[in-house]
Symmetry: C2
């Protein structure tokens, strides 16, 4: 059985490997070589008998809300539901208008739920008037998927918000379709069921109890995951049509909505979820109803999770949550997450930001990052280069791990595939050693950070810590990457970061914040949109900066065209976005001047998609970069403080350094910059309280650079591609480290 | 004296030349050579004695609202006024806030007018609350240009809207500063005065009467211009700070505003003019007050102009208006312009669109275009290339002249300079001949147009015919050229164009319109912004298209993010603009397919600044061009009609052809395209009702192409750079012309 206090500082441990049947000798050898102290199965693999002999922890995946198809089929009314919208359909002539609800959805995944009171739970909306029709004005045809609007206004556009039954669990559907399981007669299509129904809840608890009893060798129950899947719906072509990794659309049921009304005192409508077809994407300004729903489901989900965790603990096992899949409502940064009693969270590490999203979760005993690449045939095939992916993934994750250590790392997939790539196994060994050394050398401490905190200010605040500007996990989106880069850079920079909502500024900027950061595109939840209509918010930030604070705006900071400016804090930023109404005013672009912030820039600034038409409002603003007449970076002193504007900041070594400098400059701390710093932006330095110094080359080429120590003295280092070096402080010294 | 019916069809005439003293023989020779039938003075030149001998019409400039400095100085209270706004000034600490009104304005040009009741006519506005302060809450300091806000809210931003006296006429200031007249002791700085004051009006009438009496040889009084200058204000650096060629800010006076209140029944405020600092730029959605003010001043100005014109006519002379400078309120496309009785309008031709702006003016006896280049030293110097400028200017103007003939052309500046460039004189001679031939060959008819009308739909409609997307006359603006290109192309294409306001669609799309065009950036008056909140407007356009009409949208057509789409007619266009909230929906970009619209495109489509993040909403939309995942051109059938989307359309030969095709396709008339058309887009064809054909090479290189005649038969032509060729129809034939 699992030991409560496994050694976490020795030369082994902290590593989870996937294992499978038929490779016993090689598994033994590899576990030994890599010092793995835990093993797991993967989707589609079973744990071998071997685990009974191994002196390691055993993880096994467990599905709460799907997998028992007999139950799902016996209780179709207890399957999970989802809110969907039909296509926007114009009425082009007189007479009834028919709308096929399923025209753009996948009928094997979802099916209109007409067993509920559709007059109450569905809505037909005249989008031209932004008004729902009375129930008498439309009818559902017998086919169950066509709505007839009886007397539409010609020229108006109509939609149907409808509740649908989820026939097929999205993740299982994805695996099934991706892996071609239709040819495998042992595979079925799994339907999810909803623990909101007391019967299903009872069944889930009993099933878990039985499973726990049946799996004595399992140490860690790896919940994959709980009750509600993030929103993932396919189109009729069986391809992804809508994805929102934070979406709550699939967490609905009549029972839950009725409970909500009872608890919150007001009723919900279909449109509260459908949200004009945006389905409350986190980029949308969150409505009160949606925020209330999140809180409501967070209460429910964490309460139910806590009960499952109790069952697990009662069997002497640990409960681990996979961050993803059916994770909706758990809200790892929500107020009740700690109460679940979960021991651990494991998640896939696709970047530094997603790594911090896992490693910063408060209230769990440990976190585990599943590194890339998965041992899947897409990378592990003859001619594939898994080492390259391992390198880029590790270099991205390592920056975050240094600042906020994951407790463990692991891999997933088919071990057999990895074993066919000895060079990859070798690289994996180095990575694991590096990871362990970080723990060993840091001795449980974190590297020092700037003497001021950085506050990311948006509509979501803490709830979406390290989760901003993401549609789906670590996927690249053209309209997001130029903002996500800020998070990615911060995830590995020596700053303490707070995620603040606009409400958090109601009584002023929280103590300790040196620089507020507002980043995002116009009108989205991350820049804030109408939040900036509140004069108190603007006044709070203005006074904060005027009193010596800093503001860093990226994209459309405080953007909400109103009262003569696009950026409501244009006076603070010194620049504004020209929407096209102010062309009559001549606002000459000052020449670009050298500046502290851009001092390490080699070549031109990359602002990604950028934000065009940025004009200089205050001639005293210093333009740091411009392109085709538009400001791309500016610095502006304001009262006793300062503001920095950037048109975008995709992640790169250079941009990370630029952000580092911008934050110091905005905080009025530029004189403190340059200690514990490498001249080359590809190299980052972590300085630990006990005096140790870690110097990391984030680049995949060798770098020779000079590191400036605490007293400013230079230390020349040469680092191999992706290499790192430790500089040990002499005993008793904290700031006087010298090369060994 | 001037003959009422000068020959306008002969080998001479239709030409006005600037003349000056000291060149009598050469003037005679040149007038003869070029066949000029009118002469004029220019700014800063006097007409020579010679004019008394010449058998030509004589124009002389006349200034109504400035020039009599003794009068201006004696009646400072009757000088024209202007509304200005101070800088946006934040209150960063407790205690009074002082705002220097003149911090960013030129004190030699404007001066705060504190003689009026400033409590009534000035406004101090808390821009954070969007509310004016009561008059007790602020005071004007003794210096006359500093306002003290007594108890500002810390963190709020304040502005002062103030009435200012116009000390210096903007055009005279421009000439003075540009030409260095400060070194010329004979020059004074001229102040404008306002005929709204009965005394000044009386004086202006008397002065004109005297001037008419003093200038018997003048045939045409060239008013330059009337009463109110377009908005042009300099900054403290004596450089242009604000310019709006359509601006009414400098048409205000306490007397006028009081008269407005009496007439319209509601009071105006300073903010009605200051408009958050945008000063009612034509890109802004026009407010009711501003539209009422335009109508009010249009009534006043046209009434007063009519009286001056009567005086001119009474002396047997013609009255000509220069379109520009103090032209505000005349509104050549306004309902009362014809009532002025003006004989002619003359304006500078900087492009095809500005040419049409002049030549299309209804209700005058003739129009005259002043061609470029001016005979000024910036072009006419040793080594200068006036021929190149003459060529590009003429080729741009010629396209418009062919479609809607100017009656006359002319030149301006110093004839002595032109005479030093014999190659230019030669080119001028060719141009003048070409111009006369257009009149002669067309016999007063216009070339045939498509069988459907094109309706440009925006907030302004007819009032801003050919005047959209312009800040200052024909100047290039990065945020405008990609839309202005549509007008520039249309100005020379065979379409009848109507300028429609949204109100004009109240009872449906006017009869005869084949395609509606909505072009502009998001939220501006030209795309329409909140106009699209009106479901009736959207329904009208939807039904128009569904019934077989066409819609062409460029930039952000019907753009106003609301109810689930950015473009309110996204269903019609088949595409939408993704603001950043809808990233969760996968909208695959179809591959670009060949299409009728892009058939003549050689290489990639140039959409100028374009509009990014355009997604395909309807999979049935045909994508004609895309870039970095964004649609740049699309075609979409809708009901019995069709819509075309373009991300931008800067003017070029190719884009003009693309527009030509797009309009035919949207109108469902593609089968009629290709008659009277050259295969090469650089060549345009005008087909006259009597059968004559004009084939023009718009390019500055030779072009060999095939022209398709009315029966589809090909005609190979080779045209020299900028060349044209006429194809005369055989007598009685209209569609059977063959090369001579």
């Amino acid at each position: 059985m699992y030991s409560q206090n496994p050694s976490q500082d020795g030369p082994s441990g902290r590593l989870t490997l996937p294992i499978q049947t038929g490779l016993d000798d090689r598994v033994r050898e590899l576990l030994d070589r890599l010092g793995a102290d835990a093993v797991r199965n993967s989707d589609g693999t079973e744990l071998p008998e071997l685990v009974n002999e191994l002196a390691v922890k055993v993880y096994q995946t467990y599905f709460v809300g799907r997998g028992d198809q007999a139950w799902a089929d016996a209780h179709p009314e207890q399957r999970t539901r989802i809110y969907l919208m039909s296509e926007r359909t114009p009425a082009l002539a007189e007479g009834p208008l028919e709308i096929d609800l399923m025209a753009r959805w996948f009928d094997q995944q979802v099916r209109p739920d007409s067993d509920c009171d559709i007059a109450r739970w569905w809505q037909v909306i005249d989008r031209s008037l932004d008004k729902p029709l009375p129930a008498e004005a439309w009818e559902l045809l017998e086919d169950g998927h066509t709505v007839r609007v009886l007397e539409p206004v010609p020229g108006h556009v109509y939609t149907v918000d409808f509740l649908a039954e989820q026939v097929w669990d999205p993740t299982q559907m994805y695996n099934y379709l991706t892996n071609g399981w239709q040819d495998d007669p042992t595979r079925i299509k799994e339907s999810p069921y909803d623990v909101r129904h007391p019967q299903t809840w009872q069944h889930v608890r009993e099933a878990l109890a039985q499973w726990l009893a049946d799996h004595p060798r399992v140490d860690v129950v790896r919940f994959t995951t709980f009750f509600y899947h993030f929103t993932l719906v396919y189109g009729p072509d069986a391809k992804e049509r809508f994805v929102d990794w934070f979406g709550y659309s699939a967490s609905v049921s009549v029972e839950a909505m009725e409970a909500f009304e009872q608890e919150m005192g007001y009723p919900l409508t279909a449109e509260d979820f459908v949200d004009e077809g945006y389905y409350n994407s986190p980029f949308r300004i969150p409505s009160k109803a949606f925020k209330d729903w999140i809180a409501f489901q967070h209460r429910f989900v964490t309460d139910r999770v806590a009960q499952l965790v109790e069952q697990v603990h009662a069997e002497g096992k640990e409960a681990m949550m996979f961050l993803g899949d059916n994770w909706i409502g758990t809200e790892p940064y929500g107020p009740l997450f700690e109460r679940t009693g979960l021991d651990a969270v494991v998640g896939s590490v696709g970047s530094a930001a997603t790594c911090r999203m896992i490693s910063d979760i408060p209230g769990v005993k440990y976190t585990e990052g599943r590194l890339l690449p998965y041992f899947f045939p897409d990378v592990f095939h003859p001619g594939g280069d898994p080492v390259a992916e391992a390198n880029s993934s590790w270099l991205a994750a390592r920056r975050a791990i240094v600042r906020s250590p994951l407790d463990r790392i692991g891999y997933g997939g088919y071990l057999s595939l990895a074993l066919e790539h000895p060079d990859f196994v070798e690289r994996m060994e180095q990575i694991v050693e590096e990871f362990r050394a970080l723990h060993e050398r840091s001795g449980g401490t974190r590297p020092q950070t700037a003497g001021f905190r950085v506050g990311i200010l948006n509509s979501w605040g803490k709830l979406r810590s390290w989760q901003t500007h993401m549609v789906a996990h670590a996927l690249w989106y053209r309209q997001a990457y130029s903002y996500l880069g800020v998070l990615e850079a911060l995830a590995g920079l020596p700053f303490d970061v707070d995620f603040l909502s606009f409400d958090d500024l109601a009584d002023g900027v929280p103590e300790g914040i040196g620089v507020l950061v507002n980043v995002g595109s116009l009108g989205c939840a991350f820049s804030g949109g109408p939040a900036w209509e509140d004069p108190r918010l603007c006044a709070t930030v203005r006074r904060f900066v005027a009193d010596g604070g800093g503001l860093l705006g990226i994209g459309d900071p405080s953007g909400w065209p109103m009262g003569g400016t696009t950026f409501q804090l244009a006076d603070v930023l010194g620049v504004d976005r020209e929407m096209g109404w102010g062309l009559s005013t001549n606002r000459p672009l000052p020449p670009v001047a050298p500046h502290f912030i851009t001092a390490d820039l080699d070549g031109s600034l990359d602002v990604g998609e950028g934000t065009a038409n940025i004009v200089c409002l205050d001639p005293k603003a210093e333009v740091l970069d411009s392109h085709q007449g538009s400001v791309r970076a500016a610095a502006h002193r304001y009262g006793n403080g300062a503001a920095v504007y950037l048109a975008g900041l995709p992640y790169s070594h250079q941009n990370s350094r630029l952000l580092h400098r911008a934050l110091y400059w905005a905080a009025g701390r530029e004189q403190d910059f340059g200690q514990w710093l490498a001249e080359d932006p590809r190299v980052e330095v972590a300085h630990y309280p006990q005096g140790d110094l870690l110097v990391m080359n984030n680049a995949q080429e060798p770098v020779e650079t000079t590191v400036h120590l605490g007293d400013g003295s230079p230390w020349k280092v040469t680092l191999p591609p992706g290499g790192l070096e430790w500089l040990r402080a002499a005993p008793g010294q904290t700031d006087q480290g010298r090369p060994q």
